[in-house]
Amino acid sequence: MAKEVYRFSAGERFVHWCHGVAFLLLLFTGLGVLVYAFQPAMNVFGGIQVTRNIHRVVAVLFTLGMIIGFIGKGQGARQMRRWFKDVINFRKDDFDHAKNFGIEFFGGHKPFPPQGKFNGGEKLNSMFTILGTLCIVTSGYIMWFASGPSLLLQWAYPIHAACALFMAALLIAHLYLGILHPDSNQALKGIFTGWVPAKFAYEHYEKWYNEEAKETMKG
């Protein structure tokens, strides 16, 4: 077996999948309300009214999964907090990685400075996800609980819709990079088992590999 290093703790994987599965369910049920053409598809859950309630239940899980992941002293929570601190700290090395995103996306390669645990592209994706999640959660609860016409409620609608649609666009690219892209999809195993190929880690996160990951090597 090829050598592997430990990349994602159980806590991080839990939060990732809570977020991911909940987002897909929320997107599907949300589109039923948002887009008339999608309404017939809601029959798989028993109609639009059932779907609206599912949307609310899953929204709570979406919110809780996110919050719980950051709480406590466990390794998972520590790693989640570290992820947050890492990704909002966007520096020149990150920019120099992210600027070649288009080239890498279409299978080319350009050298980039050694990256930490999260590279420039991942940091951008993470920041969009954090921002989008905060906005969509806030606007969603306003839509759920606000009563009567108010500016707050009126503005919650376009914000909720914009976050949903742009996060869906981001998700499509994320799925491609994680599953279909011949180079970066080596990370896919990491989000299931926590372990990624050591060679891949060295090539993509040289700084992290040298400073931390190397010590976890197995295989």
Partner: protein, 270 residues
């Protein structure tokens, strides 16, 4: 059917509330326990069983008091914000100028209620459907007046073809303006032109009406900008990944990848 108009002349209204009762009688809406809100007003807002009511404002000037009485119901706008907001295609316009809710299509989301500049449509929580004044479309389509217009004793509610009623309304304003320069029509130039048009004897806010009701900017942003841009973003993303897969195939990156993995497995085996 020709465009209809309902002209509500507040200068003739006596505040008797018979319009509200007639509406209930025709539309099978049971009476509700009321309480005094202020002045002679006994209804705070629309309810699933009250689609029209009279709002009272007392205005004091030079030691004289005047009732600003306003029969409220749906305005039936030509360009309704509720219809723009509805995601279920449940709100539609009739040729006669009415704005109606298709209860079978309505899912009770409340987007209409949140976006009407007059706060007319509301959600009936028990039925989980939006409701509002139907303009007695069933009567109108059978050649009758709306129930409120039919019953109004002082003739403050005039109903007919737009082309016929509008000149009457304008003549009435001109007549009143001789003694009250504040008299004006409210509604005919708002939201694309409303089917229910008022003659007001003072500024709209003296009746608790918004001065400049418009489609909320947030609604225009949502439906005319966020939707198309969001659609484009999703389409562009899907197109990009399709190109990505094709380009990677053409470049032989998938084949190389398989070779590399085989090589590293060999390495691992050593």
């Amino acid at each position: 059917m020709a465009r209809k108009m309902v002209f509500i002349d507040t200068s003739l209204c006596t505040g008797c509330k018979a319009c509200s009762v007639a509406c209930k009688a025709w539309n099978d809406l049971p009476a509700e326990k009321t309480q005094r809100i202020s002045s002679y007003q006994t209804q705070a807002d629309f309810t699933p069983n009250t689609w029209t009511y009279v709002r009272f404002r007392e205005e004091y000037k030079d030691k004289k008091m005047r009732f600003n009485m306003l029969k409220l119901q749906c305005f039936h706008c030509a360009d309704p914000a509720c219809m723009k907001a509805c995601s279920s295609q449940a709100i539609y316009k009739t040729e006669s100028g009415y704005t109606l809710i298709d209860k079978d299509k309505c899912i009770g989301c409340g987007y209409c209620a949140a976006n009407c500049p007059w706060g007319v449509p509301k959600i009936d929580e028990a039925a989980n459907k939006a409701y509002k004044c139907t303009g007695c479309i069933d009567r109108v389509e059978s050649g009758m007046k709306p129930a409120c217009a039919q019953t109004c004793q002082p003739g403050a509610i005039q109903f007919g073809d737009y082309d016929e009623i509008m000149p009457q309304a304008q003549a009435r304003v001109a007549e009143l303006q001789l003694t009250n320069p504040k008299a004006h029509l409210y509604g005919n130039e708002l939201m694309g032109g409303t089917t229910y048009v008022y003659l007001l004897q003072d500024r709209p806010d003296a009746y608790g009406l918004p001065l400049n009701p418009t489609t909320p900017i947030s609604l225009t942003l949502w439906k005319d900008i966020v939707y198309p841009l969001g659609g484009i973003a999703i389409g562009a993303s899907a197109a990009a990944i399709t190109c990505g897969v094709i380009v990677n195939l053409v470049r032989g990156n998938y084949a190389n990848r398989a070779k590399n993995i085989a090589a590293s497995h060999d390495e691992g085996g050593k």
